[in-house]
Amino acid sequence: MDAEKREIEEDDVSFVARCRKGEAEAFAPLVRRYQKKMLNLAFRMIGDYDEACDVVQEAFLSAYKSIGKFREEARFSTWLTSIVLNQSKSHLKRKTAHQRYEVASLDGPDKSGNRTVVPAPFSQEESVIERMERRELEARVQKGLSSLDSEQREVLILRDIQGFSYEAIGLTLKLPMGTVRSRLFRARNALKDILFKVNEELQ
């Protein structure tokens, strides 16, 4: 597994080198290799499939444009991940600003309602086998994720969805490991609280 990873990394580096020489086609294997991972990352960050697609596309393009800035010490995947995360966050910021403006408009439809997560009681007894239910469940998890602040969300996604190591997360987000860990724990608790409504009185 490690050998395979190393091979992929070396592969990445060679493709990046070719891109730097102006071989745009050498970027295609990198896109092929990482498109799904990046799309899922963006999708979990943004919560909207189409927007995530746009953001990932933008991120790949921006990665290609700034491929000269990519330092070889770093892994390409780490570098690309941070680009996708940044693009996702700035997309969300733009979107939020846009929505706030729209909300302020009295005539416009109230879109903000959709975004507020209303944690509903979730019982394990409910069937998760049925597809519809599963979809709903996933939508709820996604809503839960979306209601976290983006700093917590990205750590949670990287660790609990994408399975990054603490070290990789630290490298990607340029954070010390301790910070990554504490942020992750808070994120997990927050998501749990969102998904499984906490009874404050049960103290």
Partner: protein, 366 residues
């Protein structure tokens, strides 16, 4: 430790990174607190939910869509490069070439126009016209001036005496005129030659004085021209100026011109005439067999690194125009003796450098 504190530690508890003391305390709390136990269970559930989230698949042709954008960007970058940087590789040489071309053209044009611009200097040498004025030759010479250029120049000469002095003799043209003249009018030339040789005599002296070697023929021609101009325009002042040296103090303007342009005529002629013709030499050879003689001459020439430039057939005679480097003239003349009997029409010029044109008249022995 209240439930909130415990719950904050639960994620770390799950990862088993707490100290044994904390772990023990949490374990004991969990056993007695259903709420916190539930929280722990919810944490696990949430983690499972996240883990079980289905991965979304990229839309169809996602890679292609991205790559289209990337390729466009690459093209734009290339276009940018081409627009701003690549041109420098092409533009600079192009501009340099254009500059060189313009410079070469300018020099060429300048050089081309130079002989005319520097018409004035060459006349100082010919201005020795005043030294001789054998009126005998005039009558014969006048019709023998075929060059329209010369005749054009003669018109102002008639009007303005001083200008006439300046313009009348045109050495470079005179040279060509000589060639033409011999070609067109061989008869009269032959007749004139003896007479022109006399006025030609002082010329070598002059050329020695002047420094720059002066073509005998050119001088002859220029003398003729000036004579024409002079005699026609009735310039009385020039009459007494028989001697070159004498003319300098007498003719103020002329003297200035002579002084100022003494070295100029030769140099300008050298520049203006690309072949640097310093003298024209005429000789006649009586040969046994025309073709044999021509072949022999050609062989001699090729040994000297020259060749017959022009061959003119004139009523059984042949006139060869030959151009030689001055140092090779004596050996050439020597070897001509093997070809036939040589008669020198003009005195061999004492020219050490430059090129000499020889007009070799061949006529059969018969």
């Amino acid at each position: 430790m209240n439930c909130r504190d415990i719950q904050d530690l639960l994620p770390a508890f799950r990862e088993d990174i707490l100290s044994p003391e904390e772990k023990r305390r949490i374990t004991s709390h969990l056993s007695s607190c259903p709420f916190c136990s539930r929280s722990l269970a919810d944490l696990k559930k949430a983690a499972d939910l996240l883990k079980d989230l289905e991965e979304v698949e990229p839309p169809p042709f996602f890679e292609q869509r991205i790559m289209v954008q990337v390729q466009e960007e690459a093209l734009r970058e290339k276009g940018f490069l081409r627009k701003w940087f690549l041109p420098i590789h092409i533009k600079i040489p192009l501009q340099a070439m254009a500059t060189v071309l313009i410079a070469v053209l300018a020099v060429y044009l300048y050089q081309k126009s130079e002989p005319e611009m520097k018409q004035i200097p060459p006349f100082s040498a010919p201005s020795s016209e005043s030294t001789q004025s054998p009126p005998v030759t005039e009558a014969g010479k006048r019709p023998s001036a075929p060059s329209s250029v010369i005749s054009q120049k003669e018109e102002p000469a008639e009007r303005q005496p001083q200008d006439a002095q300046r313009f009348a003799p045109v050495p470079p043209q005179a040279g060509s005129f000589r060639v033409d003249g011999t070609g067109k009018l061989p008869g009269p030339k032959e007749e004139e030659r003896p007479s022109t040789e006399k006025p030609g005599l002082p010329v070598p002296v002059l050329s020695e004085q002047e420094g720059p070697p002066v073509s005998l023929q050119l001088l002859e021609k220029s003398q003729e021209k000036v004579k024409k101009a002079k005699t026609r325009k009735t310039d009385e002042a020039s009459g007494p100026e028989r001697k070159w040296k004498g003319s300098l103090p007498d003719n103020g303007i002329g003297a200035e011109e002579f002084g100022g342009s003494r070295s100029a005529p030769a140099s300008s002629r050298l520049k203006g005439a690309p072949l640097m013709i310093r003298a024209v030499l005429e000789l006649t050879i009586q040969v046994r067999e025309m073709t044999v003689a021509i072949r022999e001459i050609d062989e001699v020439l090729s040994r000297l690194g020259a060749r017959i430039m022009e061959k003119m057939d004139r009523e059984g005679r042949v006139i060869l125009k030959v151009e030689l480097a001055a140092p090779t003239v004596p050996p050439f003349l020597d070897s001509l003796k093997g070809v036939g009997k040589v008669f020198f029409e003009t005195k061999s010029p004492e020219v050490q450098e430059g090129r000499v044109i020889l007009m070799i008249h061949l006529f059969p022995q018969s």
